[in-house]
Each structure stands twice: as C-alpha cells, then as structure tokens.
Symmetry: D2
Subunit: 110 residues, 4 copies
C-alpha cells in the first residue's frame, strides 16, 4: 500500500500539481470520478454494463482509488487503520442479529 501511495504522489510531484490539490478540490474530484464510474452503468442493467464496459469500469475505479489515497496521504490518514476503524463502527451500527439478510437502513430498525 505504501509503495502504491508513493507512486501516486510521485506522479503528482513530477507535474507540480500539489499546489492545486487542497482537500476540498480533492473531495470534489473524488465525486467526479465516482460519477464517471457510475456513468458506465447508465441505461443498462448491472450485467449489461459490466459486459460492455469492463475496461472503463476498471480505469474509473482506479481513478477513485488514486484520489482516495492521495487525499488520505495529504490529510495524514492511515488508510488501513481508517478502514478497520470504520468497519468496527459499521459493525456496531449494523449488528448481525438485526441486519442479516436485510437491506434496511439502521434508522429503519428499532
């Protein structure tokens, strides 16, 4: 993971783009890339989309990850710890005995 993050930051530093990359604009960029990923599914069933656009989906997902890792790096967030911490919070919010097999939101379950 650290190796990947270093490659991403090198890519940016070689272009001297850090000056544009404040966290707010990185968060904007992340939503734009997530939308470009989603665009591959527009007007299609899930299976149709994956069949027709697999390579584009892979590339856009990579862009989402690149911006995510960049933003984490800039904010000093340890990606692994942040994910494990969030999984624990989600586990409390969605206890297995109440949410197994249901897509309801935690706000819908008393």
């Amino acid at each position: 993971m650290n190796d990947l993050i270093n490659k991403i930051i090198s890519f940016r530093d070689e272009r001297d783009w850090k000056q544009f990359h404040n966290p707010k604009d990185l968060a904007i960029s992340l939503t734009l890339e997530a939308s470009e990923l989603l665009e591959n599914f527009q007007w299609k069933s899930s299976d149709q989309a994956v069949d027709a656009n697999f390579n584009d989906i892979q590339d856009e997902l990579a862009d989402v990850l690149i911006y995510s890792l960049m933003l984490a790096h800039d904010l000093g967030i340890d990606v692994k710890e942040a994910i494990l911490h969030k999984l624990e919070k989600n586990a409390e919010k969605y206890p297995i005995n109440k949410f197994k097999g249901t897509a309801r939101k935690y706000t819908d379950v008393e």
Copy 2:
C-alpha cells in the same frame, strides 16, 4: 491489501448482504459515500472543513475505500495492477513537459 479486502468481505458475508451488492448498486453507493465525504466541505474553505470535520472526513473516506475495494473484489479486479495501469495511462495523457504546473485539462492543451 488482501487482508483488508478479506475483512471487508467477511463483514458483508456475516450479514448476508452479497445478494444486494450487484456492481451497479455498488457504483451508486460509491457516489453516495463520495458525496457524504464532500458534504463535510460544503459552505467552508478547505482548511475550515478539515479543522471542523476531520474525524467525519476520515470515516467517509474509509467508506469510499470500503465500497471501492468491495467492487474491485466482486469484479475480479486486482487493485494494485489497476492503479499502476491507470497511472501509466495518465502519464501518457498528461506528459510532464506539457502539464507541469498547470491545472488545464488534456483536451485544452494542443
């Protein structure tokens, strides 16, 4: 990375949620989490937002990563290879000598 992905998939399997997680709905979820991340920056400068909402930003970024890794897993995408491949494509699209220090899009540079 693989260890993280396994933990994410275990979280899902314990709740039997795979049945809802077709790639199209995962891509939708990714845009929703990216928006929740961005919401922390609404009506604020970048610095104000990071000061006021650091923990929420970290948690939402973790959610973006969780859905990204889940979608990659379900589609059989190797995250590391996908990122390296995309960095190479981006390097061709944005050659250093033309894009150093500029935020222009590749379509704006002849």
Copy 3:
C-alpha cells in the same frame, strides 16, 4: 413551466427514449449531470470558474433541469407544488430566529 416540460418530453418521444428512462436511471443521470456541472469548478475558485466556464456552466445546469423536469413528469410530480411544499418544510427545519446568518446544520443547533 408546462410548456417547457412538453418540449422536453417531445424531444424524448421523437427519439423513442422513454423505454430507457426508468426513474432509477433518471436519478443516476441527474447525479451525472450535477457532476458535470461541478467539474467546471474543479481546481478553481468560484469566481475563476464562472469567468472561465460560464457557457458550460449554463449548459450543464440546463441538463440538470431537463432531467429534473423529466423525472418529475414521469412520477406525476407537480414541480411548483413540490418546491413550495419543500420550502415550507425547510422553513420549519431552519427557523429564522435560530439560523439567521449561520451555515450550521439543523442537527448542530439545539
């Protein structure tokens, strides 16, 4: 307004696109167009973006409105009534005496 909605629906019917336009895909399309609008502000201050991209901003905002009016039409939603109804709800959620001059969320104000 009704005249506008009729023109939008005619545009669609001439192309026989109603068959693709289920509400879920229209809601996806709305987020994609909102992102294309936002893309005009990426890496720029608000003023820089408006100066540089006014025509594109206008066009993307029109696309957001076109999809919004199409979705309202398909769901039998009266746009004017929906807006007035929501303004009333927002007025209850954000009473003037508590929220005048503050950007806080209603959840942050006791």
Copy 4:
C-alpha cells in the same frame, strides 16, 4: 417560474444565507442533493424505490430544483432560455434518424 424563484430567494434572504452561497458551493450542494435523491433508489429496483420512497423522492427532487433555480438566479441565467438552447444543442448532437430507439452515446455513433 419567476414567482417560484422569488419565493426561493426570499427564503434565503430571510436567513441571510447569501453570504455562503457562492456558485462553487451551490454546485457542490446540487450534487449532494442529487445524491440524496439517488439514495432512495439504492439496493432497490426502480419500481420498488418509487413505491417505498415516493415522498422522499419528491422532497429531494424539490431540493435539486431549489438549488438549480438559486444558482441560475445568482448567475443571471434565464432558466427557460437555457433549457430551450440546450434542447437545440442536444437535438443536433442526437439527430432523430441516428438515435431513435437507441441508448448509445453520440460518441459511439459514426
């Protein structure tokens, strides 16, 4: 339409919120509201979502329209003209004889 826009702007002016509403943050807000609308369709078929969440869909669509009309107002954009102008551009981009009954993008059709 003008009557609606006046009501929206009055709602804002009574709360003295214009100071926060630069176009960039309004464009961000528009994507956030579009995402909240889309959230009603997450993990559901289009029909299931409309059945289960009709009122919420109506309210979120109203929020999208409120922010769209506010942004148009602040930028001096005439909503009706912008929509008619964009429909004309779309009609050139998607001529009926090439796009009738197909969901392909204009970039996919020679």
